[in-house]
C-alpha cells in the first residue's frame, strides 16, 4: 500500500507532469540532415524532354517521361514523373539533368554540374566527316550545345552529349550524323553477314525466273523478315540494335547477280581467258564451259565479253518495309544497263 502512495506522490509532482506534457521528439530523430536525398522534385517548366534521366535511372520502373495534352494556346509540357514506389533515391537523374537551372532536384550537392557525367547508353553519336556538308543544322538543334566546330570540322563532345537523338533528325544528309552502337561490334558484323548471305541465296534460288525476265523489265520479290529474325536475335539478343542494323544494311546493300544459261553456250571460250579469278573453266572431255559461283567476283567481265547472251547480269536493291503488318524485305532486280547488243 505504501508503495502505491509513493507512486501517487511521485507522479503528482509538478516537474514530472510538466515534463510529461511538454515531451517532444529530439531534433535528430525528426529532422532530416541537410544532405539527405529525398525523392527527386520535378520542375515541369524547365524540362526540355531530352530523356537523360530515364536513360540513366538504374531502377527500371522509376521515371517516365509524360506529355500533357495540347491546349488551344500552347503545346503540352513534357516532363518526367517519378514513381515513388520504385525510386531508389540515388539522385543520379538530378546529376545528369542538363538544363540550367536543373529540372530535377535531389539533395544539395547534385546541383553541381560535373564535367564528366556520361549518360549510360548503348549509342554514341558521331559525325561522318566525309559526308558532312557543314550546314550546322545539328548544332542548332542540340539542346545542350554538345556539337562544336573545331578546325572546320563538326565534332560531338561526348562528355556533354545527352544521347537525345535530335541531331540525327535534323541532319539533312543520310548517314552524315550517325547513332552508332558502340558495343558488340563483332556481333553486328555477323548479323550483316547473315543478312547478305541469306538474301543472296534467296535470289539465286529464283534463277529460273530471272532468266525469263525480258530486258528493261523489273522483277520484284519479297522475303519476310521473320525468316532471318530468329537467327539474328540468336547472334545479337538486343532487338532494337538488331533491327536497326538490319534496316541500315538492307538500305545500302546492292547485290550483283550473274546468271548462266548453258543452252546458249557455244563453247567459244572467250570468257575463260577474261575471268580474273579463274572461276570459269573449260572441260575438254565433256566439251563444256563451267562457272564456279564460289570463286566468282561478280565483276561482269564475262557478261561484257559473251557474244551469245549466255551470261546475264542483274543488280538487286533492297528495302525493309512493313507490308500488311508484317516486316518484309522488298527486292527489286533489274538487268544491268551496261550495253550489250
Amino acid at each position: 500500500m505504501s508503495s502505491v502512495i509513493w507512486y501517487l506522490y511521485e507522479f503528482a509532482r509538478k516537474t514530472w507532469v510538466e515534463g510529461f506534457a511538454d515531451a517532444k521528439s529530439k531534433p535528430d530523430i525528426a529532422e532530416k540532415p541537410e544532405r539527405f536525398r529525398d525523392f527527386p522534385e520535378v520542375v515541369k517548366e524547365l524540362c526540355i524532354g531530352c530523356g537523360a534521366c530515364t536513360l540513366s535511372c538504374p531502377s527500371p520502373h522509376a521515371i517516365k517521361l509524360v506529355r500533357e495534352e495540347d491546349s488551344e494556346e500552347s503545346e503540352g509540357l513534357v516532363y518526367p514523373v517519378i514513381n515513388n514506389r520504385a525510386c531508389i533515391r540515388c539522385g543520379f537523374c538530378a546529376e545528369v539533368c542538363p538544363t540550367e537551372p536543373k529540372a530535377l532536384r535531389c539533395g544539395e550537392n547534385h546541383l553541381i554540374r560535373e564535367e564528366f557525367n556520361i549518360i549510360p547508353s548503348k549509342r554514341q553519336y558521331l559525325v561522318d566527316d566525309f559526308l558532312c556538308i557543314k550546314c550546322k543544322k545539328c548544332m542548332k538543334s542540340c539542346p545542350v550545345d554538345a556539337i562544336e566546330e573545331i578546325d572546320n570540322k563538326i565534332h560531338v563532345n561526348q562528355s556533354k552529349c545527352i544521347v537525345c537523338g535530335d541531331c540525327l533528325e535534323a541532319c539533312p544528309v543520310k548517314g552524315a550524323m550517325k547513332g552508332v552502337f558502340i558495343d558488340n561490334l563483332e556481333d553486328q558484323k555477323a548479323v550483316i553477314r547473315l543478312v547478305v548471305n541469306t538474301l543472296e541465296k534467296f535470289i539465286e534460288s529464283k534463277e529460273e525466273e530471272l532468266q525469263e525476265l525480258p530486258l528493261n523489265k523489273l522483277l520484284k520479290l519479297e522475303l519476310p523478315l521473320s525468316e532471318i529474325w530468329d537467327k539474328a536475335i540468336a547472334i545479337l539478343p538486343d532487338e532494337e540494335i538488331a533491327f536497326e542494323i538490319m534496316e541500315n544494311a538492307t538500305d545500302r546493300l546492292k547485290i550483283n547477280i550473274i546468271t548462266w544459261d548453258d543452252s546458249k553456250c557455244t563453247q567459244c571460250r572467250l570468257c575463260v581467258d577474261e575471268c580474273p579469278t579463274g572461276a570459269i573453266s573449260y572441260n575438254k572431255e565433256n566439251n563444256t564451259v563451267k562457272r564456279d559461283s564460289d570463286k566468282c567476283l561478280r565483276c561482269s567481265n564475262c557478261y561484257q565479253t559473251c557474244p551469245f547472251c549466255v551470261v546475264r547480269y542483274f543488280v538487286a536493291k533492297f528495302l525493309l518495309e512493313e507490308v500488311d503488318g508484317e516486316w518484309k524485305i522488298l527486292i527489286t532486280l533489274k538487268e544491268s544497263q551496261l550495253v550489250n547488243s
Binding site: K26, I29, A30, K32, P60, H61, R85, A86, I88, R89
Partner: protein
C-alpha cells in the same frame, strides 16, 4: 462498450512479424534500428516478435523470390485475424532494381497477399517507417477487428 474496449486493447498492443522475402537486408536493418532507444518502437505498444502465429501486423520486405511464393501465402494464412500487411521499401511494391531482365523475382507482393499499407524508399528512414506504421496500423487493426465480428 465491449467494442470500444476491444478497440483500445487492439490499438495499444500491436505484435509485429517481420518477413524478409528476398531483399537486400537494408530495410530489415532499419526495422532493427527502430528498436533502439532512440526511436523506441515499444513505447507505442508495438512489439517485434518475428512470430507469425501471434502477429497483428505483418511487415514485408524484399522482392518475393522463387522460394517465397508459396511460403508467403502460408505465413499469411497462419497469422490470426485481425491482421494488417504493411510493405516496407520499394522491393515488395515494384521489385525495385531487381525487377528487370535477368532478375529472378516475382514482385509485387500484392499479387499473392492483400496489402494494406505501403512505405516507399530504398530503404525508408526509421522515422518514415515509424510515422507510417503509427498512422496506419492501430486504426486499421481496430477497423479490421470490427469487420470480422
Amino acid at each position: 462498450m465491449l467494442n470500444t474496449l476491444k478497440d483500445i486493447v487492439r490499438k495499444s498492443s500491436i505484435h509485429v512479424c517481420l518477413i524478409n522475402c528476398g531483399g537486400c537486408n537494408g530495410c530489415d536493418v532499419e526495422v532493427v534500428a527502430l528498436l533502439s532507444p532512440r526511436y523506441d518502437l515499444e513505447q507505442y505498444g508495438i512489439y517485434v516478435h518475428n512470430n507469425p502465429r501471434e502477429a497483428d501486423v505483418i511487415l514485408i520486405t524484399g522482392a518475393v523470390t522463387e522460394q517465397w511464393i508459396k511460403k508467403i501465402k502460408r505465413i499469411y494464412a497462419k497469422a490470426p485475424e485481425p491482421k494488417v500487411v504493411a510493405c516496407i521499401g520499394n522491393c515488395p511494391l515494384s521489385g525495385d532494381v531487381f525487377n528487370q531482365e535477368g532478375g529472378n523475382v516475382h514482385a509485387p507482393v500484392s499479387d499473392f497477399i492483400p496489402v494494406d499499407a505501403e512505405i516507399s524508399g530504398c530503404p525508408p528512414r526509421p522515422s518514415e517507417i515509424l510515422e507510417a506504421i503509427l498512422a496506419v496500423a492501430p486504426g486499421a487493426i481496430a477497423a479490421r477487428g470490427r469487420e470480422k465480428e
